[in-house]
Amino acid sequence: MANRRSDTDGKHAVFLERRGYRRRRLADAARVVPVVGGVLILMPLFWSQADGERVSTVSAFLYVFGVWALMIAAAAIMSWLLSRKEED
């Protein structure tokens, strides 16, 4: 995971290296969240075609709001992690 060579430079170097790595992957995750959200939100498009049977509005409602709340939670966690990393 961390650069192997820096292992010999002492513990501090390993820590820095790993932290930089984590921050980059965190930024990657921040980019992935909206993509996942987008895919989930577009799911209702495939429902009605399934077998002619209508999905009830209430369950559709619950699904969309559920995804929405999940995305908000993910965004909140990401933003907390990202701003914490930026501060130190």
Binding site: P34, G37, R54, V58, M71, S79
Partner: protein
Amino acid sequence: MASLNLLLFVSLAYVIFLFAIAAFAERRAEMGKDGWLRSPLIYTLSLSVYCTAWTFYGAVGYAARSGLEFLTIYLGPTGVLIGWWLVLRKLVRIGQAERITSVADLISSRFGKSTALGVSVTVIAVIGTTPYIALQLQSVVLAISAFSETEVAGEQTALWVAAGLAIFTILFGTRNLDANERHHGVVMAIAVEAIVKLVALLAVGAFVVWGIAGGIGDIAARIEASPISQWEVSQGRWLGITFLSAAAFICLPRMFQVMVVENGDERHLATASWLFPTYLLLMSLFVVPIAVVGLELLPAGSNPDLFVLTLPLSQGQGGLAMLSFLGGFSSATGMVIVAAIALATMVSNNIVLPTWLRLQGDQASVTGDVRSVLILSRRLSISVVLFLGYVYYYLSGGGAALAAIGLISFVGVAQALPAMLGGIFWRGATRFGAGAGLSAGALIWAYSLFLPSFGADAVFSQSMLEAGPWGISWLRPQALFGIAGIDPVVHAFLWSMLLNSAAFVFVSLLTFPTPLERLQGAQFVSIFDLGREAREWQPRQVESEDLLIMAQRILGSSEAQRLFQEAAEGQGKPGLLPDPTPDFLADLERSLAGSVGAATAHAMVGQIVGRATVTVEELMAVADETAQMMEYSSQLEAKSDEQARLARQLRRANEKLTLLSVQKDAFLSQISHELRTPMTSIRAFSEILQEAELEKADRQKYASVIYDETIRLTRLLDDLLDLSVLENGQVTLEVQTATIGAVIERAIGSATVGTRLQIDKPRHGGSTVIETDVGRLSQVFINLIRNAEKYCDADQPTLSIRIREAQGMATIDFIDNGSGIASREREVIFEKFSRLTDQQRAGGTGLGLAICREIMTNLKGSIAYLPGQGGAAFRVTLPVSLALAAE
């Protein structure tokens, strides 16, 4: 009517309250106590200008007509905010670094501070936003009529509302022209309105769910039973409108204003990334229940857009209805105020000021009163924008046509998206590309959505809508390229975005950006890597005083003087006037851009500095970091290569020195031996001669031994002398003309008397005429031939001589068939005192090749060992004409 009067009273009180809040916030900001004004919460709430009256009232109507589809309007922006790391973060960073004042300013600044692009975006924004403002006015009028039993004079009410909003906006939107264009009062008022909106909608929702229906279970049952549940998802619209609202969220002038321009701290975005989606979720949570219950309880034919208001009214909940009215009122006014500020900034910075500057001529920047012109143009622009909104409302008659304008407006402003995103992510985007994309998109939008939206026979005739212009069916406005059956909004969005992006990309690929464009492009695209180190102006005979005068007119004296003083201090100069260095000019321009926009600021500084372009050299200086890094590392690499080469040379020199030192020691002992041997025999034979009684023949013999030894000594001393003369350059050359063949013949003749060495004479080239010191040259040849004779260890020693001539240089190779010279010894054979093989056999002085080398140097030529020839080989190179070579 009593309720109507109460309504007017409450609204008035609410407006006064908003004025007070705004004034209070401005006061706090002026006193510098603006800590809480810049909190992430206020920032998030200010984003709620996205939720206008159209969404406050309209969402319920939308749900009543199309079920859950209304959610797409909120899901698009949610996606944008959750993905803030991708786009918004960069937008905000650029906005802050470059002091961007509007969408038009962003695009103009990115594409070489182009005025034309700024104007185009401004025009599109005004056309797209004006109907939206009309929609807000309509919503207020409709809401008021819902309260009154009698007919309300809609146009009059709308006019009053528009006038009131204009006053508020002018008061709080043009108070300050400070460099970063923030309006604390307005933002504060918007934040308060955001809370009112949310509370109102939640209150109505809670009343519907727990007051009218019997809780969550009951409302779920009612939803299933309601006609809304008959709704089937339209894939095109679900997808299209989600993307459309996401695009509009970034491009809407009012959204850009609160999101980028009013942003005080980039980190607020991190909070807003989840807090604003939460706000949107809460705003839409009760929309479906309200719609369902409204459809159920209210008489058929009631306007579902007003359910939020009419439902509480029908249940006798006057207070709740009042709250709901305030919520709608907040939504409408918030949108109008921010949109008016954003549009006024665009109009005055991108249209009015450039025009005024041009009219004033060259001296405008110094003599004109820019500040007052700027404020006046802002105020006029605000009034004009609101008046246009009113006129639009008046002309459209406030009918149902207006209700559809929301999405139509979205598609219009979304046309800026390709230029915007392309501009901040793609360095290859050019202003022609941006212009082409914008024009193509705007044309398609107007043709296929905006103009047809006025209805058949309004702008386009019914027959033209159905059959296409001049009967060309693939040009039908709402079925372009023969693709019919798509929802008109999605159709227009799809085609305008596709053609907009295509034109943008293709024209960008074909055209070439100006240096300033490339500079701005590099800065925008690599904003996170570069920081703000751009150089844009080359110092000239610029009068700092002129700059100060101009800056004072735009920024105000104290602000301008502070800026100049700080710059002067930074340069280590006393007083107010810093040197107009490129850094200072770039900073100044950025500060001015915060007030008047990038294009105007550039033009104004350009007027004084006397140049409005960037040179390629300056551009090179700010080449992106990657290039710099690459150059640096290749420099390092070159340096280390050079060092390695030097080290190799040193090592070689050292080896040679060590070897020479050994050789020298060996030679010294050898030369003393060489001298000592003849001296010893001379002394010995002289002693014998002194003793008489010798045969005559013996005496003769001993005398000749002494003679021979003396000759040997003399030769050794001659060689040493010769070498020393040659080395010191004291030799006088006798230049003669001869053929090489003749010189070689002579050398062979004197060198090979009575030896068994076979000489392979040159077959050709011997006739080459040379003009040099022939005597010295043949000395070299003789030496080489004698060396071959002495050292060649083959059974049948053979020496081949080859001649070549090219480009005024003659090359003569002497190659024998012996075992050659070991490579480690080749280094030293030309040095003095070097002798390689058995000394007794050789009998030379060890100076021969050293003398040869010195001779060849004097003849402007060279002698070198030629490796890889099978035996020992030497190459003599000399100019055909010594005189020419010496020139």
